[in-house]
């Protein structure tokens, strides 16, 4: 059971909204299916992200994958320590491994609850 205090995308990103600020990361399911992460590229503070569009890229030993934003808005903060500590994504994907904090100007229409996301992951296998 994944945290129900946040929303999820089918592409396995999560966002937790507090006021007008969204904290964004990727789920344990994404991490486990990528395995052996080696590189993470995140945008700079002050850049703009768009709901449903790629904001970063993550490389495992065998694949590069895009990371999609659940919300639109300006990037307020970036977890700069994360690229050098990729093990955090396995240890604490919903906490210490957050990626961005964004001032929300819009949300993806495809956000789903933790319960719905659990069902989506179960269906993907």
């Amino acid at each position: 059971m994944r945290p129900n205090d946040r929303s999820y995308l089918k592409s396995h990103e999560w966002c937790k909204i507090d006021g007008d600020v969204a904290t964004i990361g990727i789920s344990d399911y994404a991490v486990s299916h990528l395995s052996d992460l080696v590189f993470l590229d995140l945008p700079n503070k002050g850049t703009n992200v768009t709901a449903g569009e790629s904001f970063g890229e993550i490389e495992s030993v065998k694949a590069v994958s895009d990371i999609y934003s659940p919300v639109s808005g300006d990037v307020l903060e970036v977890n700069k320590d994360l690229p050098d500590n990729l093990e955090w994504l396995s240890e604490d994907p919903f906490g210490k491994a957050w990626m961005l904090k964004v001032r929300v100007s819009g949300k993806s229409a495809d956000l789903m609850s933790g319960t719905a996301y659990d069902a989506h992951c179960a269906a993907e296998g």
Binding site: L34, S60, G125
Partner: protein, 228 residues
């Protein structure tokens, strides 16, 4: 590279492209730094791939790009490699080359020590009886209007390239029937693994247009090659 990306962005559920390199060239993994390849002889073409992993010196080899809907592959990256690499092992075995897929073992170490894709075999890599890597591979995963898509690149070595002489090579292990025949067997095994039928085709006009744009604006653009 541009054509491979055009297939990834295109609307075919699955497309397999087989090709070779003229002239021989080096491809960098998407995140690799160009400055780590200062020792590549002048005049050698260098291109940045969309897929990850280490650099490859593409000499005499069978190269393929498989672009397809992600749900045609197992969900995990690991399992997708198992499926596709077992198909490659079968194709190569059919011409008398003994090789195996490593089911266990550590993943390759962090860059830049392992800047060459073929330097250190890891889990799922295809190796010869001496443990040398015979096939390099890497994936890109993204979402398009079709949904989640995967581009899988593979390089099957025929003759050892000069910059990476430590690789395994098919010519050392068996007579090659002919390159077209090896390509045919590879395509047949990959299609069988995906439970799909092969239909010979060329790029669709929209794919060719996208490829031409990507060639000009990305893969031939030194700024993209030197991005990192």
């Amino acid at each position: 590279m541009a054509r491979d990306e055009a297939l990834l962005l295109g609307d075919s559920p699955a497309a397999l492209r087989l090709y070779n390199w003229a002239p021989h060239a080096v491809s960098l993994g998407y995140f690799q730094r160009l400055q780590d390849f200062d020792d590549v002889p002048p005049g050698t073409s260098i291109v940045r791939r969309l897929t990850g992993g280490g650099a490859i010196h593409h000499g005499e080899e069978v190269t393929f790009a498989l672009a397809l809907d992600a749900d045609l592959l197992p969900a995990s990256v690991d399992a997708s490699y198992g499926l596709l690499h077992d198909a490659i092992v079968r194709a190569v075995a059919s011409i008398g080359v003994l090789c195996t897929r490593l089911e266990h073992g550590p993943p390759p170490g962090a860059r830049p020590k392992d800047r060459w894709c073929f330097a250190v075999p890891g889990r799922h890599d295809i190796v010869d009886r001496n443990g040398r890597k015979l096939c390099g591979s890497a994936q890109r995963r993204l979402r398009t209007s079709r949904g989640p898509r995967v581009l899988h690149h593979g390089s099957l070595v025929i003759e050892r390239p000069s910059l990476t002489p430590f690789v395994a090579a098919i010519v050392d292990m068996a007579p090659i029937p002919s390159l077209p025949e090896l390509r045919r067997r590879l395509a047949a095994e990959l299609a069988a693994a995906l439970s799909m039928n092969l239909e010979p085709s060329t790029l669709r006009s929209t794919e060719a247009e996208v490829a031409e744009t990507l060639r000009r604006t990305r893969y031939e653009d030194q700024a993209f090659t030197a991005t990192r």
